[in-house]
Amino acid sequence: MDVDLELEDSDNEETITAQSVLAKLEEAWMNEKFSPEILPHRTEIVDCMLEQIHQMEENLNKLKKSDFRVVIHRMELDRIRYIITSYLRSRLEKIELYTSHILEMESKRPVEERYLSPAEYKFAQEHQSHLENHFETVVLRHMPYNIRTLDKATMSVAPNLFSQVFLRANKTVNGVIVETGVEGAEEEVELDGNSQHIIQYKAIAELVKSGSVQLI
């Protein structure tokens, strides 16, 4: 993402930049909302957009309350704030549900390639440890010693990557491999630029992350 905040001096370019950041935010939001698994975080967009909101709010406070522009701008701000909170809520929901699975996956990624933002990562860790702690306090410590451990592999709750999703291809993609469910059978599909499909998420997960397709 190349958002250049330095450009804010020039009125004209600022609008273009803000517009494009908003478009990126909307894309990230839709992808996150419709994807069964958590996607790489886009903190830079969120931070940038919130920064914009704060500036706009300050500017609005300088205007008279009766100024018609205030209403229009406030509406727009409310809308953007809704998108941001909805986006972050979707992520949090997945983090809470798939905590141990996500932490397990994260542990295999280098720190700078983590899907969770540092704050989300901290949240996930705390969520996990408080859950385990609760199990321990209420029942585990009263159980026979050979059965007390929490077996991460069997207990981990993981997203269903075979969920069907709707998508629009941003560009033509060839050779998408879809597992058809019958043992080992596969099917190859071609996604034309701008075409829309309903397809199993697992087959296009990487394309969502690379931005080749947009979930809708």
């Binding site: 929901e93 709750v157 997203p159």
Partner: protein, 235 residues
């Protein structure tokens, strides 16, 4: 912000625990020592549910049950979770039989008129239990798998139709003969129906009001107020 996701059973899933509690006939292939009480109590439970449960609890905790054994050849209805663990490739303690609702006679009925069968009465977890059963190395396994898929396909259209057209309740309270036909659905189907209905309602609301639905109180707050009201009127 409800934690709603597509169907995925997991370790903590209530539905999965319920489904794995369904019973199937098992025959013991070896002697199991010091568990006989458990077997005798089974018989008692079948005769009288409430009193036998108390007895079962007592004798289980009673160390004198030590010398009771289950003999080879004994047949018992065991819950799936237990049957699965005792029947594996290396060393089978029990051999399993398939419950009759998944056997050929019933399969024929389901094939012929899938849409009118009361699955709820046959087994509340018809698909989930069925798919677990198809995992056993049994001569009926493949057939059960096919049956589930076919049966679901046949009934799905009906569920879609109900989701979009009827407004009957799905709580299953009035499940008498001839009442709400949705009472014939198994647990999985009922979940689909509820999801289908709520998305249909959301679509209709959006079409008629352009999405300008009023902000409502949180669901839990509504439920809580209802209960408070009910309590107040009782006391």
């Amino acid at each position: 912000m409800p934690l709603l996701r597509s169907y995925t059973p997991h370790y903590f899933s209530i539905d999965d625990i319920m489904a794995t509690q369904e019973r199937l006939p098992c025959k013991f292939e070896v002697d199991v020592l010091r568990l006989g009480e458990y077997c005798r109590n089974q018989a008692k439970i079948i005769m009288s549910n409430t009193t036998a449960l108390k007895v079962a609890k007592k004798s289980f905790l009673d160390p004198s049950s030590d010398d009771e054994d289950i003999k080879t050849g004994t047949t018992l209805e065991l819950p799936y979770w237990l049957a699965r663990a005792l029947c594996n490739r290396n060393r089978s303690i029990v051999s399993v039989n398939i419950p009759r609702i998944y056997k050929e006679a019933y399969r024929e009925i389901l094939k012929a008129e899938a849409s009118v069968v009361d699955l709820h009465r046959l087994c509340v977890y018809f698909y989930e239990f069925g798919s677990y059963l198809s995992g056993f190395n049994h001569r009926d396994s493949t057939e059960i798998g096919n049956l589930l898929v076919q049966c679901f396909k046949d009934r799905f259209r009906l569920i879609m139709d109900w989701a979009q057209n009827s407004s009957g309740d799905t709580s299953g309270s009035g499940r008498g003969a001839g009442s709400d036909p949705t009472a014939r659905l198994d647990n999985l189907e009922r979940g689909l129906l509820i999801t289908g209905r709520s998305s249909w309602e959301a679509l209709e609301a959006w079409l008629s009001q352009g999405g300008g639905r009023p902000i409502g109180p949180a669901n839990m707050v509504v439920n809580h107020q209802k209960r408070q009201l009910a309590n107040a009127s009782v006391s």
